[in-house]
């Protein structure tokens, strides 16, 4: 690989790292700043995930200059993208059941109540 290309890769990876660091910080800062519980759920699930994504991207392409690409990072990205919505859904359900979410929840429009608030509860 030519020195110029190496330099460009270095710059690009550094930019990704700086951006990822800012996003990771935004996720944790949003947790402190946003006023209502349901709003607080938004910041970590998204911003933090993109922060880890940046770290993983850099880790995967770090040795590209020596012609190596690591694939394990892809695996971690897939796991995180699959599990982040699940934990967010569970946290939202907990907030709704405990009455800590905003109380103006609309009707489901199907004639049945929302699953968390239904009298006999289905599997979450």
């Amino acid at each position: 690989m030519t020195p110029a290309l190496d330099m460009a890769l270095d710059l690009a990876l550094s930019a990704v790292l700086v951006g990822g660091g800012i996003f990771a910080l935004v996720g944790s800062y949003g947790l402190m700043r946003l006023p209502r519980p349901m709003q607080r759920l938004h910041a970590p699930t998204k911003a933090t995930t993109i922060g880890v994504g940046a770290a993983l991207l850099v880790s995967a392409l770090d040795l590209l200059g020596q012609g190596q690409v690591s694939w394990k990072e892809v695996l971690i990205t897939i796991f995180l993208l699959l599990t982040a919505p699940i934990s967010a859904l569970f946290l939202a359900k907990t907030l709704i059941l405990r009455g800590e979410a905003d109380p103006d929840i609309p009707d489901s429009g199907t004639g049945k109540p929302w699953a968390t608030l239904a009298p006999e509860r289905h599997d979450p």
């Binding site: 006023p35 709003q39 694939w71 695996l75 004639g111 049945k112």
Partner: protein
């Protein structure tokens, strides 16, 4: 063949996962991957009574690229709201999204997509499974968010799965 591999997609996923884990191409890893891809679906077949149907696997690949792009764009929007918008001007809203999708796989994929993309979060499902409750971080116009979800994601998923 069908009795040996009751879930071909699951077997294929297991082979790919195993190769991602060992991180190199070797014949021994392929043998181990095929052994695992045969045994695990056979052992867990009781929990997978019917096979998920994907009509267009390539549509699924295109969909995941679209979603990944949206996730990145979404994060800039959310970061702007979190950092700069005054607290009392953030207009959060609950949105009910009626579902046209039938298959559970498509619905869970849609729910995951909604959670990962612009300022929206799947919060609950109606007891009959025909509507999703979505919370939006900043939505001055909830109807446009609902239309966006229905046209951008649900229509594509309906084409892929049904």
């Amino acid at each position: 063949m069908r009795r040996l591999f009751p879930h071909p997609y699951l077997s294929l996923t297991l082979v790919i996962l195993w190769f991602l884990l060992v991180n190199q191409w070797k014949l021994g890893s392929l043998v181990m991957a095929i052994i695992l891809a045969t045994i695990i679906p056979l052992l867990t077949t009781t929990w997978w009574p019917n096979r998920p149907r994907v009509k267009r696997p390539f549509g699924l690949a295109a969909y995941s690229i679209l979603v990944l792009w949206d996730v990145i764009v979404a994060n800039f929007q959310v970061a702007r709201i979190v950092l700069f918008m005054p607290r009392d001007r953030i207009r959060s809203a609950w949105i009910t999204v009626p579902l046209d999708l039938q298959s559970p796989e498509a619905i869970s994929l849609l729910a995951g997509t909604i959670t990962m993309t612009p300022g929206t979060l799947t919060s609950d499902m109606s007891a009959c499974g025909r509507a999703l409750l979505v919370h939006a971080l900043h939505a001055p116009d909830p109807d446009s968010v609902r239309n966006d979800i229905k046209t951008r994601y649900e229509a594509r998923l309906k084409r892929i799965f049904e």
